[in-house]
């Protein structure tokens, strides 16, 4: 369950890189492993407080399913082992979704989490989309290949 909109989440940073580190959301507590995870997770949680119609077109704020999946993706990316990945931008999407955007030079990897928690990705170079599809939550090697592409252009 996501914390209430008024609850300030507590993020615990563990820099031990142990794969067994617990990362589940326990009420208002979110465990993180990398320091870059903190800001995007907080940004995602803040989206709960968006007013209905934040886009002036009647969109709701992202719900629990989208936010839980967003945090899961951020945490899973941190586990991939890249030292040169920076924090993604976090945006609400019309209709109640969330979009994560990792920028590395001219390359961009966008992951959209739809209101039901399903996920899509698109790879972009110099503003032009190169490929898109369902974001691979499993196995991690498939997600790793997307981020390998992202960082290989730096």
């Amino acid at each position: 369950m996501m914390p209430d909109a008024v609850t300030t989440p507590i993020l615990e940073y563990r820099n031990d890189r142990q794969p067994q580190v617990r990362r589940r959301q326990l009420g208002p507590i979110v465990f993180v492993q990398s320091s870059w995870e903190i800001e995007p997770i907080l940004a995602a949680l803040r989206l709960q407080s968006l007013p209905h119609g934040w886009d002036r077109a009647g969109s709701p704020p992202p719900g629990d399913a989208a936010l839980d999946r967003t945090i899961e993706i951020i945490s899973s990316v941190a586990k991939l082992g890249f030292d040169d990945i920076t924090a993604p931008h976090v945006f609400p999407v019309p209709g109640g979704g969330v979009q994560l955007e990792w920028l590395q030079g001219a390359r961009r990897l966008e992951v959209e989490v739809l209101p039901d928690g399903s996920t899509q990705f698109v790879t972009v170079r110099d503003g032009d989309p190169l490929g898109e599809g369902e974001y691979p939550l499993w196995p991690p090697t498939e997600a790793k290949s997307l981020f390998s592409w992202l960082v290989s252009g730096v």
């Binding site: 968006l50 934040w54 886009d55 002036r56 077109a57 931008h89 945006f91 609400p92 999407v93 019309p94 209709g95 979704g97 979009q99 955007e101 966008e110 959209e112 899509q120 990705f121 698109v122 972009v124 503003g127 032009d128 989309p129 898109e132």
Partner: protein, 143 residues
């Protein structure tokens, strides 16, 4: 939602269309100049709502969407990416409202690639929320 997802050929390719961009879709690209860019998440929708600016005014749009910025693209840009351009008058009688949607699956959300294409094709139409460049006046005679 448009009554039918049918291409409106009466809207010319060079028709300038403005899309209101919520502040939540903006991010800074230059902290010194304050320049901003927007995420293509602002274009990920079932129906991308835009306005034919020649049929309204920037000031009217700014009043309709206070505090928001605007990106401009053309109807031809949308068609080039395989999208439909459909007129869809607002309930308030604003006939400048136009919707961009998918041609391959009418009524479905734009894909990430389609949204990225629209975003790349678009340019800022304003200098900031409610700030528009002065409209050029008649040329001054050279003394």
């Amino acid at each position: 939602m448009p009554a039918s997802w049918v291409e409106d050929g009466s809207i010319p390719d060079d028709c300038r269309l403005w899309r209101a961009i919520p502040e939540q879709s903006l991010y800074p690209v230059d902290l010194i100049t304050g320049d901003q860019d927007c995420s293509d998440s602002a274009f990920r929708s079932q129906e991308v709502s835009v306005y034919a600016v020649a049929e309204t005014t920037p000031q009217a749009l700014a009043a309709k969407f206070p505090g928001l910025r605007f990106r401009e693209l053309t109807a031809g840009d949308a068609r080039k990416f395989g999208l439909l351009v459909v007129r869809d008058p607002n309930d308030d009688g604003d006939t400048s409202h136009v919707v961009i949607g998918r041609r391959d699956v009418p009524g479905s959300r734009l894909t990430g690639g389609q949204a990225a294409n629209l975003k790349k094709a678009s340019l800022w139409a304003d200098l900031g929320p409610g700030q528009f460049p002065p409209t050029p006046g008649p040329a001054e005679p050279i003394a």
